[in-house]
């Protein structure tokens, strides 16, 4: 029995390693696609420091635009997917996503305020919109958590309801700001649709640091997340302090979400579906689920962004549209094939 389980784990780690290789491969491949076509051979030359065959313009495009953008896609995908795992574990509900307790609406409010007031601060290389996105999402999540904690039960349901209520209010505020400042509405709207086009080295650096922090926190709670799935009574009998546990998971997941929204705007679907795909592949154990989700999230974002850059080139599509348009059919196909196999088995 124990050996079988060990085999399953090994198989899962193999799958995860394989997926990580795919992430690397897709990253390099997507360096060559975009509005400006750069053949793979030139990418190879560029990577190996060779100066021949790569024009100055190509080098600028690769270094200043594509590489930061690809790294941003990886970071965003990893952050959203692991945050999704965190929230799904916390609410014991596979329908939860990184935005469930107000992170997206908080970020949107922050950005709207920055755009409407024409805020021009820069801190640690991050522009006003990124900073306000981060501040907004963390601020609103803290508010929701405080509300949840005030009600003595601090049940996950209270938390969820507070999140939904605060989110609707925040969304209304965003709509109001857009309505009152219709000249700037289009800037807010383009941010709401999500895009990686503005990625640069500073955003990559800041996002990777905050993402590492969030993902690290979640990773360190993976055993507790497993225990929590057993239910309140069982997990407390295993010595889990529910309030502290929630506090850590929310912090980790929110920091990861905030790092994603501050660099890419609001990108739906990835945080919801990437964990499900990972779950189908490696099962519910968080020690496996978290790294697998990180891989599926990164791959989804990389492919979606490559499509966004190329499909209607030279025009770009907002990447948030692509993630949902491409990801949903893939996910449904996976679900159907699974359930068919399942029905044969039973």
């Amino acid at each position: 029995m124990g050996e079988r389980r060990g085999n399953a784990t090994n198989r899962s780690w193999l799958l995860i390693g394989f997926s990580a290789c795919i992430v690397l491969f897709v990253s390099i491949a997507s360096l060559s696609v975009g509005a400006a076509s750069i053949p793979l051979a030139n990418i190879g030359a560029w990577i190996s420091h060779s100066t021949e065959g790569v024009t100055a313009t190509e080098r600028t495009i690769l270094w200043e635009l594509r590489l930061p953008r690809i790294l941003s896609a990886v970071i965003t995908g990893v952050s959203l997917a692991t945050a999704g795992v965190g929230f799904q574990g916390l609410f014991r509900n596979v329908l939860a996503d990184p935005y469930v307790i107000g992170a997206s609406s908080g970020a949107a409010l922050g950005v709207s305020i920055a755009v409407v007031t024409g805020l021009q601060v820069t801190y640690f290389g991050l522009g006003a919109t990124s900073l306000m996105a981060m501040a907004g999402s963390i601020g609103i999540v803290m508010l929701v958590f405080a509300l949840g904690a005030i009600s003595r039960q601090t049940s996950t349901i209270t938390l969820l309801l507070a999140g939904v209520a605060i989110s609707s209010m925040t969304n209304a505020l965003v709509s109001l700001l857009m309505f009152l400042n219709d000249q700037k509405a289009i800037v807010i709207l383009s941010w709401l649709m999500g895009s990686l086009a503005g990625s640069d080295w500073q955003t990559v650096l800041v996002a990777s640091l905050s993402s590492c922090m969030g993902v690290g926190i979640l990773w360190s709670r993976s055993r507790q997340l497993d225990a929590f799935l057993l239910g309140d009574a069982a997990s407390q009998s295993l010595g889990l302090d529910p309030l502290r546990f929630r506090c850590w998971v929310i912090t980790g997941a929110s920091v990861a979400t905030a790092s994603a929204v501050s660099s890419a705007g609001i990108i739906g679907f990835v945080g919801l579906i990437a964990p499900q795909i990972a779950r189908l592949m490696v099962g519910p154990r968080h020690a496996l689920l978290l790294p697998m989700s990180a891989c599926t999230g990164a791959i989804t974002m990389l492919v979606a962004d490559a499509v966004a850059r190329t499909i209607v080139a030279p025009t770009e599509l907002p990447v948030g549209i692509v993630t949902a348009l491409l990801g949903c059919p893939f996910f449904i196909a996976l679900l159907l094939s699974r359930s068919m196999r399942g029905s044969v088995a039973t």
């Binding site: 289009i186 080295w201 500073q202």
Partner: protein, 339 residues
Amino acid sequence: MKSQFTLGFLSREGSLSLRAFATTLLLPLCLVGCDGTNLDHEDRIVNEDGSRNQYDSETGMTIVDKMEREITIVGVPKRIVSLSPSTTELLFALGLGDSIVGVTEHCNYPEEAKAITKVGSGTLEGISREAILNAKPDLILCKWDNHRPLVETFERVSIPIVGLGPENVDQLFEEALLLGKVARCEAQATSLIESMRARLEKLQKAAHSIAPSQRKKVFYEVWDTPLMTAGPQSFIGELLVLGNMDNIFHDTVNRYPRVSSESVVERNPDVILAPTTHGEKVRFETLANRAGWDNVAAIKNHQVFLIDGDHVSRCGPRLLDALESMIQQVYPEALTQKE
């Protein structure tokens, strides 16, 4: 806003160390070397010695754009990317069409503009930064309000990017002068402005030959759902004033405010003007069928006129074509009397 420019410059310097840090931190992931620092910065480095508006191939020329940024341009731009149709039209009117190497998908005038490489649709998210870079521009002209995030990207790679976007005839002339200065074709710019001024004067004179009692109340319908009009702050609002027309929404603040159908009925315009399309072609019947609009004077007397959308929704050199056709429709007698 000089300080802002300096800040931007500082952060660019600072980014070198960040870049190095990022390289060591992240790049093992992709096994990618970092030769990003040997961009062709050298030939674009800016010497700021306060020599404003002087062109000297060594020091360059400093201008202030609509975002109030100071920009130094070295040499005569020979490869211009234009990110708005009105700017493209203006460049052609100044005889700079041959220097344009990138335009948006909406840049459809003059005919030659259609053949130029496209770098995306007009909105911010539809523009491809890669395609712009690939066109190897030495000057980028963007919209000052909606394209702001592009500025960060192209400042980083040291390609001058200038925010434009006139909102009235005077600003249009200013921008023509600015572009004339930048591209060193000031003579063309002045003569374009002079001829436009002369034509504007003629049109204004004709429109003002209408007796005050004959002035008409005009509703300009920018869009149908939601119903939007042009306030006095917009260039369309200005055209109405120049054409001696009484904008029924002269009291609004926003450039393109939403208005209620009811208030149009209440203010009872004599004439309704609209661009040729609101997504689909504007038809008299659609307007007449709106609840209560059958009582509006303009509908009763069939005074609904369409203006070529490309003329009237771009604050460019063809703006006066729009004004002329507006006057022609609203006060046909004014122009015929004149000639």
